[in-house]
């Protein structure tokens, strides 16, 4: 077996693959954050909780009603997205005119409630979700073994990322969204229902997080606390990439996943910290972020 810096190639590729998959999750999550930030100008601290809800809903729908993976792939984001719309409508909207810090704190409080309640119901040990049979097994690519499900995660995440990019950059709805980002009052003046647009945007951003949750359910342990630590990493990813562009969020997400995977191969103790260290470097040498426009 060929080696590189004392690490077998198969191990290296294996970690790279895991890195790309983690990166796909980072990309999906930071994309949702960026979409919400664009119109609402808030950072959704409940994003990790929504990701977790997506995974929990998938497991619970299967356990309680036997709803399969493919339905959950659309159903869970729909359920969680609707939940998000309700949160926007009943809570966030009430403090829309206030300092954005308050909405941030509000979503933090919401995250505490969701996570705390679910810990009480399900504990922190984690639920099991069996992978659909189609995805069992994998294919030998010659240089490494590729489990089918992992390949599917990458494909699905990329599809959704580029779909979102397409909707926002190339469609009429997306042009409303971008216009709302620039000047929502003027948009209102043109007769566009901005409050509705805001609700839908929040719901959509949250649904993206839930979609990531569904993808995660078969490979990660599904627990009420799975969201909070992931969210902090995603924050670092967002700081590194800047939220200026949708494409930037996607590229940075995957890049950071890969860097994390490489660190795990060559120097495991630093793997949980490496993204934060990259963030420190970016802040020192390129404070507005790799793709950022703002100061």
């Amino acid at each position: 077996m060929s080696m590189i810096f004392g690490v077998p190639l198969a191990v290296l590729f294996g970690q790279l693959l895991i890195g790309i998959i983690n990166g796909a999750f980072y990309a999906l999550l930071s994309l949702g954050l960026a979409v919400i930030f664009g119109l609402l100008k808030i950072i959704n601290f409940a994003h990790g909780a929504m990701y977790m809800l997506g995974a929990m809903v998938t497991v619970l729908m299967f356990d309680a009603m036997g709803i399969n993976y493919w339905v959950a792939l659309f159903g869970a984001p729909l359920v969680v997205g609707t939940f998000g719309v309700l949160i926007e409508y009943f809570l966030l909207r009430r403090i829309a005119g206030q300092d954005h810090i308050y909405s941030l704190l509000l979503t933090f409080g919401v995250a505490l409630i969701i996570q705390g309640v679910l810990i009480n119901w399900f504990g922190v040990s984690g639920l099991r979700y069996t992978m659909p049979d189609v995805f069992k097994g994998g294919v030998n690519l010659g240089f490494m073994f590729m489990p089918y499900y992992r390949a599917w995660v990458i494909v699905a995440a990329l599809l959704v990322c580029f779909g979102t990019w397409f909707v926002i950059e190339k469609t009429k709805l997306g042009s409303y969204l971008r216009a709302g980002t620039e000047d929502s009052q003027l948009m209102q003046g043109f007769g566009i229902n901005v409050p509705l647009l805001i609700s839908v945007t929040y719901g959509f951003g949250v649904a993206l997080a839930a979609f990531a949750g569904v993808l995660a359910a078969p490979i990660y342990s599904v627990t009420p606390v799975m969201g909070s630590s992931t969210l902090i990493v995603v924050f670092a990813v967002v700081v590194i990439g800047g939220m200026g562009s949708i494409g930037g969020a996607i590229i940075t997400g995957i890049l950071m996943g890969v860097i994390e995977g490489l660190t795990k191969t060559f120097y495991p103790p630093a793997s949980s910290a490496v993204i934060f260290l990259v963030m420190v470097l970016v802040l020192m040498f390129r404070p507005s972020g790799l793709f950022g426009k703002e100061a």
């Binding site: 009430r94 403090i95 810090i101 409080g109 705390g116």
Partner: protein, 331 residues
């Protein structure tokens, strides 16, 4: 002539009014001090010290959040670095006077705060919150992996030792009065900082940063200094906490703790001096009483609920609302 006599009268009246108010304040403060001095004879001193430590933590946080408008989501890092440093020194160098251990812990948090500040002020608004949160997570990982903290187990049996080599701090009453003295000193310091010209600039930055810049203030330097003072006091709170409980653990470094101090400040009233103290007392009591009752598993969701209700319904917090009420009905 007549007019000037009139204006002197008015002036005298204002001075008299001012003196009367000062006297009222003095009496109020005196009563508060008496209560604090007598409290350990009625309430378990360790519980009171817990409140005082968290109150200091919240006062420190409020200097940054309430008065400068910077929302740090990483203050747990300072609480923990103060606590761990003090704990490590007192555990490993027997005979070290306790006050030196506490000073060292405070210094460690100060240096860490300077590092945080220099990095995080490069981003504004919500990015600032995210950067501080991420940096604190980095510190958390460091504490998890480095051996001296005891990892998941934490640091146990930190000796309280003696203050100035004279006063035995193993005695809860002695410890209480020491913590109280430090707390009052820090509270007065923050009061002084806030009312100083420097503090006025901080408020200006909070209200309108571009204007403060255009007036020629080097805004970043003001922010960094505010951050460092805040981190130092948070570290001091952590140091004292580790001495009081003879324990330093990862709980103090977790993001949850950063959220808790935000809640304390918000509930008590951000941007008021007394608010964080009231908020800390409130939150510590709620947590304690919930943990004793049938709702002990529901502490987190309840805290989250308080967060949501405070943000939605009374953003000025307890002290802020009381002030509003007094101004409206009694002023």
């Amino acid at each position: 002539m007549n007019q000037s006599a009139n204006s002197t009268d008015i002036h005298k009246a204002i001075v008299r009014e001012q003196a009367a108010q000062d006297r009222k304040k003095l009496i109020l403060n005196g009563v508060l001090l008496l209560i604090l001095l007598a409290a350990p004879f009625m309430i378990y001193p360790v519980f009171l010290m817990k409140i005082l430590c968290f109150a200091l933590f919240a006062v420190a946080f409020n200097l940054l959040f309430g008065f400068t408008g910077l929302l740090s989501f990483g203050h747990a890092a300072f609480l923990a670095s103060g606590g761990y440093t003090t704990g490590y020194l007192l555990s490993n160098f027997s005979g070290l006077p306790t006050e030196l251990g506490i000073i060292a812990g405070t210094l460690a948090a100060t240096v860490l705060g300077l590092g945080f500040a220099l990095l995080s002020i490069r981003r504004q608004g919500i990015y600032f919150a995210m950067v501080t949160l991420a940096l604190a997570q980095l510190v958390f990982f460091f504490f998890v992996q480095s051996g001296f903290t005891g990892g998941e187990d934490g640091m146990h049996g930190i000796p309280r030792g003696e203050l100035f080599g004279l006063i035995n701090l193993e005695d809860n009453l002695n410890m209480y009065y020491f913590v109280l003295a430090v707390f009052i000193g820090c509270y007065l310091l923050v009061q002084r900082v806030v009312s100083s010209p420097y503090g006025q600039v901080l408020k200006a930055i909070k209200q309108n940063e571009p204007r403060a810049v255009s007036l020629g203030y080097n805004v970043d330097r003001y922010k960094v200094l505010a951050f460092v003072i805040s981190a130092a006091l948070a570290g001091l709170a952590g140091s004292m906490k580790s001495v009081v409980f003879q324990l330093a653990s990862l709980n103090d470094a977790h993001w949850h703790m950063s959220g808790e101090v935000i809640l304390m400040t918000l509930v008590g009233g951000m941007g008021t001096l007394l608010g964080p103290v009231v908020g800390a007392t409130f939150v510590v009591n709620i947590e304690y009483h919930l943990s004793q009752g049938p709702l002990r598993d529901w502490v987190d969701p309840i805290l989250g609920g308080i967060f949501v209700i405070t943000v939605l319904a009374f953003r000025s917090g307890i002290v802020g609302e009381v002030q509003k009420f007094v101004r409206k009905n009694l002023g």
